[in-house]
Amino acid sequence: MSEIVSCHNAENPGITAEGNPFRNGLWKQNPVFFMVLGMCPTLAITNSVRNAVSMGFATTFVMVVSYGLISMIRKLIPKQVRIATYIAILAMAVTVVDFLVKAISIPIYLALGAYIPLIVSNCLTLERAEAYAGKQPVIKSMLDGLGMGFGFTIALTMLGAVREVLGAGTFLGVHLFGKSFEPWVLFLLPPGGFISLAMWLLLFAWWKERSAERAAIKESAPTELAVPVEARA
């Protein structure tokens, strides 16, 4: 719960409701790499690609369903009890998904069963309900849930790939390096989650800074004097 409360208060000025809600979540406002939300599942379950993808899809489904419902009744919800309402709806969606997965497919249930209850403790789901679905129309809210969910899945998969390859020497369970490879077990353990997340965040921060610099240079320099950016750097 503390995670939900703390991240709910973190207002990020860079996050807006402008633009295509699906594309925003996918990359520009990626929940993990740019909003740094939902760190509990991000760090806990990304020690293999399969876990990461499963968790991502389950979260996506819950977000799409519950944001549709939340957006439908958004005008009826008094401001003071909105968070409690969102949590009730999210918890309902998670429970329903749990039942459905159990009934529909044994293999998916065996792969996902342990992760589904974790979704309700993911602060990303609550943050998007508060920042988007509680204010926007139904279709846009569901698209936002879909985009954020896929963005979350992509980010988890990227983390899971680094951790599985370095920590176990496998990708999706397939051995990559042969018998002589000594797995770097640290990457499967919690510290490995923090280290690989930090590496990805560093990479994206550097990339963001560089593209901002390039944009500034492009604006200030007249086109006829333009020197290849690589040469300036």
Binding site: I73, T85, A88, I89, M92, T95, V96, A103, A114, Y115
Partner: protein, 226 residues
């Protein structure tokens, strides 16, 4: 003289609105959950039976025939007609010639997150546990859920000594710190998942204390398949 002005009519108190909305949302969510539960419970039960049957045949490879036993409160064994019956169940597996291969016993214990439900196979001949399989659990992915998949942990149960003498286990099953297993009745815990490992130890320990003496007492019956 000033007249007392009555307070203007208040709009509906917001407290009432909040309670009404939260009540309605909870009611609808509750109904949706109950509805889904009712709609899916049949499928879920048959899926769980499939998981259970698969687990039994995995734990007793080569079994051609199974008999399901239940334990009555008096401690007597009785044959159950199907899987629907609740309570402690035992699955006796026999090979083609009718020889008893082993008994699969259901057990559960509280883990880190929720109940861990598991099955293990017991060989009356070896007086040992010969296999272990988690059927359902909610343990932390990556840590506690390795009780299901970690090959090192599962190798503990290939030949776990549970010899019964005078209706009591000779050596109680014990969970020891990772890498310090010395005796055949000890379980080597998963490092980082001590609570889940201990829960598995408890799951097997309580079942060994209560169910295996019943199996030994009724071994003749089970061997004959009665």
């Amino acid at each position: 003289m000033s007249t007392i002005v009555p307070p203007p009519a208040q709009p509906q108190p917001p407290g009432w609105r909040m309670i009404r909305l939260l009540g309605a949302v909870s009611l609808i969510c509750g109904l949706l959950i109950v509805g889904t539960n009712l709609a899916t419970s049949g499928r879920i039960r048959s899926n769980q039976e499939t998981i259970m049957r698969n687990s039994v045949s995995e734990l007793l490879p080569g079994a051609q025939k199974e008999i399901i036993y239940g334990i009555e409160p008096s401690g007597e064994l009785k044959i159950l007609p199907d899987l629907q019956a609740a309570g402690q169940r035992l699955f006796a597996g026999y090979d083609g010639s009718g020889k008893l291969l082993g008994v699969v016993i259901e057990s559960s214990a509280r883990g880190y997150a929720d109940l861990i439900q598991a099955m293990y196979s017991y060989s009356p001949e070896k007086q040992a546990i010969t296999g272990f399989k988690v059927v359902d659990m909610r343990e932390t992915p990556g840590l506690g859920d390795r009780t299901r998949s970690d090959p090192d942990f599962l190798s503990n149960f290939q030949d776990l000594d549970v010899t019964i003498v005078d209706g009591k286990p000779l050596h109680p099953v014990k969970v020891v710190k990772h890498g310090s297993k010395k005796n055949p009745w000890e379980i080597d815990a998963i490092s980082g998942a001590t609570i889940s490992s201990r829960a598995v130890g408890k799951l097997i320990g309580t079942s060994v204390d209560t169910v295996i003496p019943v199996v030994r007492k009724n071994l003749d019956r089970i061997e004959k398949g009665q």
